[in-house]
Symmetry: C2
Subunit: 607 residues, 2 copies
């Protein structure tokens, strides 16, 4: 069983069940349970391989494999709470802790069911706070911070920390010159990507998301994550132009030049224009210094081009809708701040409003978005003070595997029906016309009322074939380790068979044909192929994406002790804007004709 | 009395004396001690000022002053463990802690004297480790991390964190439009800078440093700190080109382009050349892509120009000597690593050697440099694992005040005598000729045997007048708060009079003439004018520079739990190179003709 040594301390505080009895029993039987393990001094008797022995990933429990001369190796078990040639023998305290720790899948099932139980827990502040602290720390601390790896080296370098244009890596790349693409397991070559897509990914028929997830959720995911997933494709999939997390650059722009260009320089507000009596982002021609991703091959009239914080966000109406709402919200917050602090200048109104918007983004992401995504019955709350005084690190690096994992295109339906007009996916690419034809509020209600697709196999829209193909190819270029390696890294038991992974005999047979060995299943393919669970994504995606997500949200500077106080946000009133933010308020405060059923589920009774 | 709330927890663990008795007595008398303080609900009865009331810094104990409409204010006391209109009333626990906490000056005097006592403590590992943990955490945690302020805003913004080209600020700038340059205290204008320099700074006669500090120390300070003090003067004194700390860019270069240019691409080594049978850095003409700071107005032959990791380091022979030694050391470590790991390629030898050099720099800086600088009798040790599992943040931002403080030009003597030849300061500017004329080893021994100047008033070399003038002007441009504000910020009692500051009646009278009010003494001027203490620098410089220094050294990624293990450094042998590093070894391993008396003091008996 795997452990994450760094968060065991925190986990230990929140143990479900009759810990004392289990502990006593465990200690009684401990000696008997370990006689078969090799001792740390037993030399390896197997013949030396003719390849780098670290290709076989012999070190367990996050020990570091270190290649020695003459195709030998050693495992550095420092900090793993294990010892032995392969870090396979737990220390007494690690053994006790891992014996007490329930399987993550058991916890996950518990936390996503028994609504009555959680309804009680959610109402007992003392216990609820303990649980939220546990969620923050157990998830946040499983992410290495400072980051250890990047994609250009399979070992630790100073660059992993000091060169911030790298995405971090939770696990280093598979070494070059291993017998197979994932080390030693499986077939000597990756499966053919086109075959893989056809058999495993392409949509047969639209599978709706079983938890009633709507398209408003799908676009939230895309709008939110693009502030930190900013791959610099000219340099490669391992390089980013972005900062380390929730910098609200998707609203305000990535560079100081962008940010200045988008400001009105009056009362802290962003530039807007009025179209059909409603406030919208300005036209691109009216904002010098901003560059947007309009493709030169597609003819778009100048009056239909907009200047936004993210160069991609004017290419899809759903993203444009979110952008518009956030621009309106920023300007609304500026009005509030000016009312409270009439002596403030434009600069302070702008800067403080940006801090409040950051807080709102984090609050809504945790309490509306992650709550729906996880389907936890535990009520998730944004309470950054719970991390204060702990070993939580208020610094974040976006990881290549997080970016890779977040390709959630199965959520995207084949089209949308707005006010009786059908739009296929490609009708909405490069054009925000539907928003102006039907009105922003109608488009928002369409997103609310339209079902997103299930995040599973055989549910990728056909027009997204090239996107998916690039994702898989990038995963190979980055030499990601396999799904089971990530399962181990994030404290889950590895899958033992293809059926164990998929829960579906036909899909299991297909994947076995492609890979030959469960240890050889590629990261992204395995994430999507996993059998559906109680959350919107399969379990491995929740339990690897979750830590990166929690870390990114809670490591934001505004969550740190010196920032998280009223004066940072313009006083108690400003602080309260964050503390009471919600998805519903965000939309309802900024829609002209009224709002209805705002949330991440289609309304009850939707077909 | 001031407190630093965030490190009180750690401080509490190491309380000298009979804490229990003091505690009981304190509690008995607590009620009686506070009757005069205003309660939090008492409205201010003083007439409203006609300026921003925050100019008067009414908030105590690090409360944040927040200007309200109509020239009113409020203090945000969050996290200060104090309450009341001006955060002046301690909570019970804060009051108890501050009552138990000895004055920093008392601690400082204790730790720099009683050699016999410390000789015992240093030999009891359990107690010594506790004390080192206390030093690390109490110093490190007093620095805000993540950083809160930069020099363009007097309030918290997202830029302070996300725009890493800013130097951080421990205290925000004095607001514009205050009655006096430092708020409300003192004269309406800064004193004339030339008058100030003439009366307070210029050397009358050379004052040798009273702790026998030598010129090797002076150049270590300059060589070491220039890796992170890299002001981008084109953009202003608040902007840096550097990274957040010990990135060894002074040895390897700041950008990837620089680093690649300086590599030999063989066995991980840096480019070198042989001159007079000794290894030296390469000539500039042989390294394309590197740019050095040679002034165009000074004629320097091409064969006397060198390519180094720092563009400034070929302009002074002392810096060139250190650069040469570190290049040799890097290549020596590469040889060691190759011996242990003959299968490693150039890239891995280079990267791992760079990690080892980083560790050596930190080890030598703490155990040789800071040990001498502080004159602590407590033996300082580099044991990063002591911070593991605590709330210590492994991320650092260089602060503008740290850069400003580190102008230690009084250390520089008016010249050096190398092998009987006298060199005035300007003879050694822009030229490393003395090194080749006398030999590197002779030059190093000259640095060892030459006394540095005392870091005090009236001891700045006359030729450095323009440098000093710029320092003072930059401090004004950056609107630094006064010396007493920094004393309060770092937990020291503010000075009550000019004599209290200087301990010298004549100097006190001069300064009183310049400033009028002790609260109006400028930061840098006050730091240098403070009466000499037991350390190489006066006490305020130790107690403000110390935290920034400890934070910068211990927050390095190599000190974090995931990095600090043998495999990161090429195995146990590589790890041991760090663990056994010393200034003496650094030089003795890399000098050709042998080494003698290597250390930061002139040998005993030196006149």
């Amino acid at each position: 069983m795997e452990t994450e040594p760094r968060d065991d301390k925190e986990r230990g505080r929140v143990v479900f069940g009759v810990a004392g009895v289990v502990l006593a029993t465990s200690l009684l039987f401990m000696r008997a349970s370990q006689p078969d393990l090799p001792s740390s001094t037993t030399p390896s008797l197997s013949p030396l391989p003719d390849y780098d022995p670290c290709c076989a990933y012999p070190c367990q429990n996050q020990g570091i494999c270190f290649t020695l001369p003459a195709n030998n190796y050693t495992c550095d078990c420092t900090g793993t709470e294990h010892y032995g040639r392969n870090c396979e023998i737990p220390t007494w305290s690690a053994w006790v802790k891992s014996s007490l720790k329930p399987d993550p899948e058991v916890i996950h099932n518990l936390i996503t069911s028994h609504s009555w139980f959680w309804a009680i827990i959610n109402r007992i502040p003392f216990i609820h706070k303990k649980l939220m602290t546990y969620v923050y720390l157990s998830r946040g601390n499983i992410v290495d911070s400072p980051p250890t790896y990047e994609s250009d080296h399979t070992y630790i370098t100073l660059n992993a920390y000091f060169n911030e244009s790298y995405y971090g890596r939770a696990l280093p790349a598979v070494p070059q010159h291993c017998p197979t693409p994932l080390g030693v397991a499986g077939n000597p070559d990756y499966p053919d990507v086109d075959e893989l897509i056809k058999k495993v990914f392409l949509r047969r028929e639209f599978l709706p998301e079983p938890h009633d997830t709507n398209v408003l959720f799908q676009y939230y995911a895309q709008h939110f994550t693009h502030q930190f997933f900013r791959t610099d494709y000219k340099k490669g999939p391992h390089i980013t132009k972005g900062n380390g997390g929730v910098d609200v650059s998707n609203i305000y722009g990535l560079t100081e030049q962008d940010r200045q260009a988008l400001r009105s320089n009056v009362d802290g507000k962003l530039k807007t224009q009025v179209i059909n009596g409603e406030e919208f982002p300005p036209n691109l021609r009216d904002v010098s210094g901003i560059s947007m991703d309009y493709p030169p091959s597609v003819p778009i009239p100048e009056e239909a081009k907009f200047a936004l914080g993210h160069p991609f966000f004017a290419l899809l109406p759903g993203l444009f809708a979110y952008s518009t709402i956030w621009v309106r919200e920023h300007n609304r917050v500026c009005d509030e701040l000016k009312r409270i602090n009439p002596h403030w200048d434009d600069e302070r109104l702008y800067q403080t409003s940006r801090l409040i918007i950051t807080g709102q983004v984090i609050k809504i992401t945790i309490e509306d978005y992650v709550q729906h995504l996880s389907q936890y019955k535990l009520r998730l709350t944004f309470e950054p003070h719970l991390t204060h005084g702990t070993s939580f690190q208020y610094h974040n690096r976006i990881h290549a595997e997080f970016n890779h994992l977040y390709h959630w295109h199965p959520l995207i339906p084949d089209g949308l029906e707005v006010n009786g007009t059908n739009y296929a996916l490609m009708d909405m690419a490069f054009s925000v016309a539907p928003i102006f034809k039907h009105g922003l509020d109608n488009f928002i209600h369409t997103m609310v009322n339209s079902r997103a697709g299930a995040l599973t196999t055989r549910n990728h829209a056909h027009v997204l074939y090239p996107v998916l193909k690039k994702v898989i190819e990038n995963g190979r270029l980055l030499r990601f380790q396999g799904l089971n390696a990530y399962r181990r890294r994030f404290g889950m038991r590895p899958f033992t068979s293809f059926l164990d992974l998929t829960g579906d005999a036909e899909l299991a047979a297909d994947l076995e044909g492609f890979y030959g060995d469960i240890e050889a299943v590629e990261y992204y393919i395995g994430l999507v192929a996993e059998r559906p669970g109680p959350s919107v994504t399969p379990l491995t995606m929740v339990n690897t994406g979750g830590p990166w997500s929690v870390k990114g949200l809670l490591a934001n500077p505004i969550c740190s002790p010196r920032y998280w106080k009223p004066s940072t946000f313009g006083g108690e009133e400003g602080f309260n804007i964050i503390k009471t933010a919600s998805l519903e308020k965000l939309f309802c405060n900024n829609m002209k004709t009224g709002c209805k059923n705002i949330g991440f589920k289609v309304p009850e009774g939707t077909p």
